[in-house]
């Protein structure tokens, strides 16, 4: 458990470092994810070292977004002023993206449904 947590945080740390050092437009945690994937593929990191910590974090990922969402309360005035373009643009566009992305994948993907 602790071993997995240390590895995840270390990879995030290196990812943040690279993102800043190279001035990349990609956030450090996404770079950390890519590096961790590389380490797993190369066999530098073993699945069993990571499993416990990763499974715990992934099963509670939704919870970790709650404080960011509560931050919306600071910007109610701004949203109230132009609510129609803001809300309609966000909502309709979200459905457009779901449909466009899903249809593209569906049309191009000839694989059979995965078993899980």
């Amino acid at each position: 458990m602790l071993q997995g947590m240390v590895l995840l945080l270390l990879f995030q740390f290196v990812g943040e470092g690279l993102s800043r050092l190279l001035g990349l437009p990609i956030p450090g945690n996404v770079i950390g994810m890519a590096l961790m994937l590389l380490a797993l593929v190369q066999g530098w990191v073993k699945v069993k070292w990571l499993e416990q910590a990763a499974d715990l974090l992934l099963s509670y990922m939704a919870l970790f977004f709650v404080p960011a969402g509560v931050g919306v309360m600071l910007y109610f005035d701004l949203i109230a002023r132009e609510w129609l373009p803001i809300v309609a643009g966000t909502v309709i566009s979200t459905f457009v993206v779901l449909a466009v992305t899903g249809w593209c994948e569906k049309l191009l993907d000839k694989q059979e449904e995965s078993q899980s």
Binding site: P27, V47, L57, Y75, I86, G89, G102, C104, E105, D109
Partner: protein
């Protein structure tokens, strides 16, 4: 009392307690509008407003919970690695789906809000709404949107995708786990992905991949569109 509310303990306890209750509500009711993230956010905002507790006090604990999001994103590498063969077999549909999604997101969000009379800053703030928070903020800063508004819209988009993304996909004929994962991850980043992870690890892994790739695609497409059409 004031000091106790400003200690991290308050924000952490409140978030965990409210989230646990919201989770129970969702498990008992199975009603899609009762998405635990959305219900928790609304309940905590109401509570803070009613009790006149400043957001800054809550956030002393809140930011500690938010911190765990970082290692969680790194942890997404594990399901990606475990399902790598299925993902690699689909690399073309996945890549094309994400680029098409990123493009449609930028154009539809900006287009609709502009048609409805949004001011320039508001229209620009909507451009990166489907991208994960840290990337979205970087993009909005570059093009001249309002950073806090973008952050709020990213959360709104995420909740919307988590509440009804998979249901909407099935409604328009998108049924495979790969396609639903890709659509929900591209449209509603980590919040949509978090819901999928609770239901199916394969869709969740593809959605996790889409968070990173859509962030990258949008970050690259926005300056390109800017250059081509000279907004």
């Amino acid at each position: 009392m004031k000091e106790l509310l400003a200690s991290p303990l308050f924000g952490i306890c409140l978030t965990l307690l409210v989230y646990r209750l919201a989770e129970l509500l969702y498990q008992r009711s199975r009603f899609i509008l009762f998405n635990p993230v959305a219900v928790s956010i609304v309940s905590i905002i109401l509570l803070l407003k009613l009790c006149n507790i400043p957001y800054q006090d809550y956030n002393n604990g809140g930011r500690m919970i938010l911190f765990l999001l970082g290692p969680s994103v790194v942890a997404l590498a594990l399901p990606l690695y475990q399902r790598r063969q299925e993902i690699l077999r689909r690399k073309l549909p996945i890549l094309i789906g994400i680029v098409a999604g990123a493009l449609s997101s930028i154009i539809s969000a900006a287009g609709i809000s502009w048609l409805l009379g949004g001011s320039e800053e508001v229209v620009l703030s909507l451009v990166p709404k489907s991208v994960t928070t840290p990337i979205a903020i970087g993009i909005t800063e570059k093009i001249g949107g309002i950073v806090p508004l973008t952050a709020a819209l990213v959360v709104l988009t995420g909740c919307l995708g988590a509440i009804c993304g998979p249901e909407f996909c099935r409604l328009v004929g998108i049924r495979s786990k790969a396609a639903i994962g890709l659509a929900v991850g591209t449209a509603s980043h980590g919040i949509g992905t978090a819901r999928l992870l609770g239901e199916d690890r394969f869709s969740g892994a593809i959605a996790g991949l889409a968070i990173g790739l859509n962030g990258l695609a949008t970050a690259l497409l926005v300056p390109l569109l800017w250059f081509l059409f000279g907004w």
